[in-house]
């Protein structure tokens, strides 16, 4: 299977005002607009119940949007088409391999349905097995495969009909952690080489970061933010995204000049045009643990915040410090440097202006 076989068919997907209510009246999805570029891997990320699976199933044709919603593949309106007519390939969380068929028969199922002659079917099954590194397992029964192998058979089966769109519904969740990483890396390579439009649903932010060209973060049936992994990580659009993706420190202070005044020091204000702070008013500063520089108290200067180390965790590749600085929650710092301080020691931290994720005025609701 050469990459250009798919490139030619890479199609864009557009959802227009797609909402979904269920029979019992609950709204799984608010009206949603989403554009997916041809050949892009888009990850739908969010906690369970956020509507990501419903969105995927609407693109697949397993669910239909409420009145008024439209789904387009390229210029074609596929809203009314059931899944079997949409030309999508789908990989399910539990693989959904047919237990009454061998590995080869599973992969060939779609071709058989479309009436592709047996000779060509066998040839293509061999190529697909090669693509997912399962050569020679064509005759194997499905229940004789390991979890990782099943996953790859499911992928080969989904790709067998050269679908316009590849849909993956938490495909790695059923695998154990180590295997997940290996399969993820293979999957990433494969998706890049195929150049197929792929939509990937997951609740695992690590997976989303590693695989997505763009990530759609969803919360309670709504899109919270769409962006590249870097945008989502460094410039979260709101508190939900900031908290959901990675770990985030959140510190409250008073705006004074171009700094945020804290009880034991001050942080710079981020100069990135995103500030909506008012002089003399309370505001939040948000920054990542890996952006906190931990400094020995003897080297602390006016641009530091002083505090007391309350916990130290050595994690092998990095060390995590919890530092009490006289605000509500301790600051978490992570460093890969081989420094060490004991819990209870006085210490200082520094955060560079460019590392501040966002500064927002404190609202009255939060103050209450």
């Amino acid at each position: 299977m050469k990459s250009n076989e798919f490139n030619q068919q890479a199609v864009s997907i557009r959802l227009a005002q797609c909402a979904k209510s269920f029979a019992n009246g609950t709204r799984a999805l608010q009206p949603l607009d989403l554009e997916i570029h041809p050949g892009e891997t888009l990850v739908l990320l969010g906690p369970s119940g956020c509507g990501k699976t419903t969105t995927l199933r609407m693109i697949a044709g397993l669910e239909f949007p409420d009145q008024g919603g439209r789904v387009f593949f390229g210029d074609e309106d596929v809203t009314a088409l059931p899944i079997e007519k949409r030309g999508v390939g789908m990989v399910f969380q539990n693989y959904a391999l047919f237990p009454n068929m061998s590995v080869g028969e599973n992969i060939a199922y779609g071709m058989k349905i479309r009436g592709i002659p047996a000779g060509e079917r066998i040839e293509r099954v061999e190529r697909l097995l090669e693509m997912v590194h399962l050569q020679g397992l064509s005759q194997r029964r499905v229940d004789q495969l390991s979890g990782g192998q099943k996953q790859r058979v499911a992928l080969a089966r989904a790709l067998a009909m050269e679908p316009r769109v590849l849909l993956l519904d938490e495909p790695l969740t059923a695998l154990d952690a180590k295997l997940r990483e290996a399969v993820r890396s293979d999957l990433n390579k494969l998706l890049r080489s195929l150049g197929i439009t792929a939509i990937y649903v997951t609740h695992d932010q690590g997976e989303a970061m590693a695989l997505g060209d763009r990530i759609v973060v969803m919360e309670r049936g709504k899109i919270s933010q769409i962006g590249t992994p870097q945008e989502i990580y460094y410039h979260p659009a709101n508190d939900f995204v900031a908290d959901f993706i990675g770990a985030m420190n959140r510190v409250e202070g008073i705006v004074a000049g171009n700094r945020l005044q804290l009880p034991t020091g001050s942080l710079p204000l981020a100069d990135n045009g995103r500030n909506e702070v008012v002089q003399g008013q309370p505001a939040w500063a948000l920054f990542r643990p890996e952006d906190v520089q931990v400094i020995d108290i003897t080297e602390a200067d006016a641009h530091c915040v002083r505090g007391r180390l309350i916990n130290t965790f050595f994690l092998g590749d990095r060390t995590r410090f919890e530092i009490e600085i006289g605000v509500e929650r301790p600051v978490i710092a992570e460093t890969s440097k081989r420094g060490w301080w004991e819990a209870g020691q006085q210490i200082a931290i520094r955060v560079l202006p460019e590392a501040l994720v966002k500064m927002a005025p404190r609202t009255d609701k939060e103050a209450a």
Binding site: A23, E84, L97, P99, N100, A158
Partner: protein, 267 residues
């Protein structure tokens, strides 16, 4: 020591209960090959009664088998798609489907005599139909259909099967292709379990059949009642013996088929 004692007490009790259940069966079978049951075994063993039953009631045996197999065919053809429809209609949570499911069970709860009487009142005037074995077949189908639908429905309602169908649909399979290619092979365990029930119940069915039969459409259980009522006890018992020999290989065969299919298809 204490444990050992308790084990033997429990064993003895179990054996006693088994004996209580098995002795009548053995006695009945023995009666069928005894020259004179009232005199006892000492009167000698004989196959005379078995021969006599075979000669007199052979047609009822074949008729019962034919009806059981026809009943199986009808319940398969009607019951399996019905179960599929009940499982999938409106995404599988339809009140109507649940209602139909409950209604299907009705003939099991209603006495067979009442079902039969209703059939006679409704269709008794259609002479040819009334006098044929099809009339009995209808009664058997009404009675056995839920025993096919229930186990098949249980398998078809499993979320795994629903997902297999979604996978098949994503590969381009239409409803019919999914039903025959994915649903039926993967619901085989439920279908075979249902088939086993249907054949067993049909062969042994007495209540409905007794009301519906004519002298020319006697089935095995009806013939058995006839033999006990109007012949020597030994003849009736010999009849029972033949019944056992007929039904046991059938049951073992179907049980084996069910197990074999379970081994093959793990859902």
């Amino acid at each position: 020591m204490q444990n050992r004692f308790r084990f033997y007490v429990q064993l003895a009790f179990t054996l006693l209960v088994c004996a209580f259940l098995v002795v009548p069966v053995l006695l009945s079978m023995l009666a069928g090959v005894t020259e004179n049951f009232f005199v006892g075994i000492s009167s000698g063993l004989t196959l005379r009664w078995v021969g006599q039953v075979w000669e007199m009631y052979q047609p009822t045996i074949w008729r019962s088998l034919v009806i059981a197999l026809a009943c199986l065919v009808v319940t398969l053809v009607a019951g399996v798609p019905l179960a599929y429809m009940l499982a999938r209609y409106r995404g599988g949570n339809s009140r109507l489907a649940r209602l139909i499911e409950e209604l299907l069970m009705m003939p099991v709860a209603v006495p067979g005599l009442a079902t039969a009487l209703a059939l006679i009142m409704a269709y008794g005037t259609w002479r040819d139909f009334r006098a044929s074995i099809f009339f009995i077949l209808v009664g058997h189908v009404i009675f056995t259909l839920p025993f096919m639908v229930r186990p098949v429905l249980a398998v078809m309602q499993s979320s795994q099967l629903a997902q297999l169908e979604e996978a098949a649909a994503s590969l381009g399979a239409g409803r019919m292709q999914r039903f025959f290619g994915i649903v039926i092979p993967n619901a085989a365990s439920g279908i075979l379990a249902g088939a086993l029930m249907v054949v067993t119940l049909s062969v042994g069915e007495f209540n409905i059949t007794w009301m519906l039969h004519t002298p020319l459409t006697q089935t095995l259980p009806v013939g058995l009642a006839d033999a006990y009522a109007s012949m020597r006890l030994e003849v009736g018992s010999a009849y029972t013996l033949i019944f056992f020999f007929m039904i046991i290989p059938l049951l073992i065969g179907m049980q084996w088929a069910t197990q074999a299919s379970r081994k093959k298809v793990r859902l």
